[in-house]
Symmetry: D2
Subunit: 348 residues, 4 copies
């Protein structure tokens, strides 16, 4: 690790309030497997934040685990999930969805967002095909919000996708690994209650937003898969000490902590963008959330990466590279000042 | 069914020589599960036809079963298979590959054939990605020959793909559901021994080439998956009366019957193409094998399909449809003459 | 193979009536995938024989395939099937049920039949366990009739098991690989309509009762799994030429052929038993169907097996072996006379 | 929760040294996915404690997850794992092993320990069966140490089982969910280096021995499954913040903390046993580790459980119940004194 790093939003531990709660509650004797008072309280607070009392909330450990479990248990065995080609489940989860038996139907995207006309085309082609009984049935749309490129859907776009789902009998499932950063992005018009209304299921990411681990899945009323608890166990995803997740989410959803620390990451990202703009760097795309993609000349990238942790994203061309800077709940103003200093030194 | 039909190449029973052999051998008492003398003889004849004594041959029942079993058992659990977007395993096998846990990595194609530069790009992207441990590992290339569009790879193309496989540590697996029709197509420069040399595994289709059912998988030396027999059983693919397959393939590979009846289907297809050309029909693509794709005005399609069985392929535009005519080992000259007569009536 | 063989009931081809029907229908042009007129007719005849018009019938190729497909698609992913320890799915299907994700809960048996008190005990233990959400849920009882030991359940026993199923929300599924031989056994009080009434699903075995391959699954009203056709395809179990199964079952269920040839095998088995009794052989158990188990002194077994094909069953003790003689639809009186002759020679 | 509880060994948080280390390291910027310095240090310390530099160590989150992942990745798809009927994987993991495709072959046990003669019998039967290609192949022995009943294998027993494994080409895999309590039990002659020598793989339980979560898998040299990292991801078991596990195990294996806190739990269990003996309670079995099983008259159980958290184990007879008391790293002398007081009140 470099002295400072913007490599990702999961390079530091967790918000101090969580550590404090771990300490305060450490010797309380609590039942295992997620039925303790902290899990219960966390679920109630999340439902309240979603303004959706009839939803059901489950706490899981990580993002791939959550995607795998939700998709596998909501879908029947021959049903498939539609994802942008760049969707996390399609590329970077080591085939976890296919491992549980389900096809990922990839469709075109732009800056990480599903191309809605490609979606409509796929559904039309399927329903118009007389031989579609020989095909995996599209039954769910997966999208990430923010996307893998830090971009956001508008409320109107999500509602349109939701309408397509309803019309075609599909589930809408949103991967919110970085949801806080999406909700608090400048100009975003999507709220947690909106998601609860539009989705059949979605998850509120903790790992990248202030927790050591943990994702909270919210199922709309009537959408919790049958025997979901048993299936969590069966997938190897049930923690004996459910308190590990309960305490974290209870803390994050007390006094809006989740939203405040998300807002902080956005503020830091805005400062970072201002800094890049001021120095004349070229943005790879326009991301309103905590991930910023910059096109750097290869030599500059080399020099920079000796002093600052950044994420390699992709080769832009023979002489340039796209790199990612991520802010988080833990990014400090000093880090940005230090980065500014380094950039000055290497570019002047 | 219409009076005559070109709907597919599996609408009739099997070659009479097979029925005769069933009758002659019916009361012989044979061991079960594929170890009888007919299975043994069939395997020997197939190896001889492949000029590959060290290959191993297994007889299975159907194409999807064969693809599923071969791919699942050759690949490790986190390994993926690359296929053209139009590959049979990618679209029309109801997610059978994913059901057994493997991702199908789809790439661009043209007329059903893998776009080789897209293939190289995918492999380069994978090997150049520092995070590829988080991805399903591409480990096999699947292609069909003839393709789903009736087109053929040249020997040079197959060798180039084979070289890419060797260079990247991939298996080359060819789906030969209609292999006979490919081998006997005019101008094809690919032989059975070529396939045995270039592929790690391929199958010789029986169901569509004169058998009631059955596909013969050929594994190159050292490529037979460990405990393959047990895995056939575990996949529900082991026949108690292995003779059903043994007798059929023994017959098909006696006196070149497989090649002769394939040649017949090609001859019939050539006559069909001549007929369509003569009548000014528009071809959707140029297929050298037993499948012919014609673009028909919708009303004409409607009228024709009342008298002749044809396969709907896809909507071409608002007023035209692509339809498929398939010939087979069982197509008769009279059928073509009758089709000619019908076409004359409805077009004049 | 020996000159004569009683090794199993699948050592010969198929009933001649089937071969004749293959020949007669060979050039008829029929749609693929099981929607042809012969499949339809076979299904109607089977429903009529079951006196159960609202059942649904599907034709599959083999026994393990059928068990795997029916169990996997009727059960939810965390549900388990209960089987006698000696059940075919538990021992001799290479883990095919587990391969599709389901636990087989084995219970005690006697002569192949489920120990009903062990069954009740398992269910009581499960329902009484406060932690049973951590366990695979028993949801189906699998039994074979005749059992792997050739024994039969009485109607009263099946009704009692069916009652246990209803009371506990379980499915009753019967593996009828040798069903004909069970229905026609002397003293059996179970009929096909009984099975249709008592079971949620069962299959009528063809492979061992006169067909080259094929098993007919009967689902009770409302019990057909969702998208079953697509799942057949997904499991690699869908035949392109559905006629192969349709013609066979249509023939077997025309003019009671299935029952007649089953009766013949039973008659032959009775003669065989008489012969063994007359010669003072010791029976391993009392089987009323087409499988007869004899305890032979090892040296005698050795000598006999040089002239007659028999099935090794298990080592009885250091000096004796249990061997199986199976009759079938194809067993001839001459075979039995010849066996008698051989036995005389080697025992006198 | 009652005022005091002996319900299980996972009712409290984690050892304070771990909380302190979380706090101290919280803002260090560390790479994700388990390649940080704490994971590395933890692995080195564990290998040192095992006196096995060539082993490979991986840190996972929970016990079922670990069992599922290790068993699935060490076994080929048609291979099975042998377990005592009472083994955790056989009963209380919701079919997690079967979910990944593997059969659990259950054998007889006594007080939770594998019946070695039953094991030998199973292997002999398998190898002696001419049809064993139709069966799932036994390839691994799973046992828990301590067992689910708190009992322990002796070194001689483990060596004998290990010898059986070597002779039969099986892997030996030990589930050490409560390993510390086994290693520190009075009279135990099994050490961590012994396990590293005897096993192909085993895991050192953290969740029940002082951690919030976490299990450390140790693979013997050459036994790490191919692409294990990718398969962790594919199973949804890879934590983004690997530090969560690294810091915990690094702390537990610094200055023998793991062994000290395990010893403490054993001391507490010994006091508990002395107390039960003094008061004339009946032990269900003789457990040398941290779980104590007592047979209580039902009314007494009722009264007691109003004041003390205990684990229901099983119904002993109509009037008695077996209950479990578990001590742990967190059990205090005051808790035992308080229990003593309560027992006095309700029994006198």
């Amino acid at each position: 690790m470099k002295k400072i790093s913007f490599e990702s939003d999961y390079i530091q531990g967790c918000h101090e309030a969580i550590l404090n709660r771990f300490t305060e509650t450490n010797y309380e004797q609590l039942s295992g497997y997620g039925v303790d008072r902290y899990c219960e309280s966390a679920k109630q607070k999340i439902k309240a934040a979603c303004q959706s009392e009839n939803s059901e909330v489950f706490l899981l450990t990580g993002g791939t685990q959550t995607n795998q479990l939700v998709i596998d248990t909501m879908l029947d065995s021959c049903e498939a999930v539609i994802s942008a080609k760049t969707g996390h489940i399609n590329g970077h989860e080591a085939g976890a969805i296919e491992y549980t038996g389900h096809k990922v139907l990839e469709i075109a995207q732009e800056n990480g967002k599903i191309d809605i006309s490609a979606l409509e085309q796929l559904l039309q082609a399927f329903h118009g095909d007389a031989n579609n009984q020989h095909m995996a049935t599209p039954k769910m749309i997966y999208l990430s919000h923010p996307t893998e490129y830090g971009t956001l859907y508008t409320f109107a776009e999500l509602r349109r996708i939701s309408d397509i789902c309803k019309k075609n009998g599909l589930y809408l499932y949103i991967d919110g690994a970085r949801l806080g950063y999406g909700l608090m992005a400048k100009g975003s018009d999507v709220t947690l209650p909106d998601l609860a209304r539009l989705c059949d299921a979605f998850y509120i990411g903790g790992t990248k937003v202030g927790a050591l681990c943990g994702e909270a899945v919210v199922f709309a009323e009537g959408r919790t898969p049958k025997k979901f608890f048993t299936k969590i166990k069966q997938h190897g995803a049930l923690l004996a000490k459910g308190r590990l997740l309960g305490i974290q989410f209870d803390t994050l959803f007390t006094n809006d902590l989740y939203f405040q620390i998300s807002k902080h990451a956005i503020d830091m990202a805005e400062e970072l963008k201002a800094l890049f703009t001021a120095r004349g760097f070229q943005f790879f795309l326009d991301s309103p959330t905590n991930q910023i993609f910059i096109i750097l000349e290869n030599r500059l990238y080399q020099t920079l990466s000796e002093q600052v942790g950044v994420g390699f994203w992709e080769q832009y061309d023979d002489t340039h590279t796209v790199i990612r800077f991520a802010t988080s709940w833990a990014t400090r103003r000093e880090d940005i000042a230090q980065l500014d200093q380094i950039l000055r030194e290497i570019t002047e």
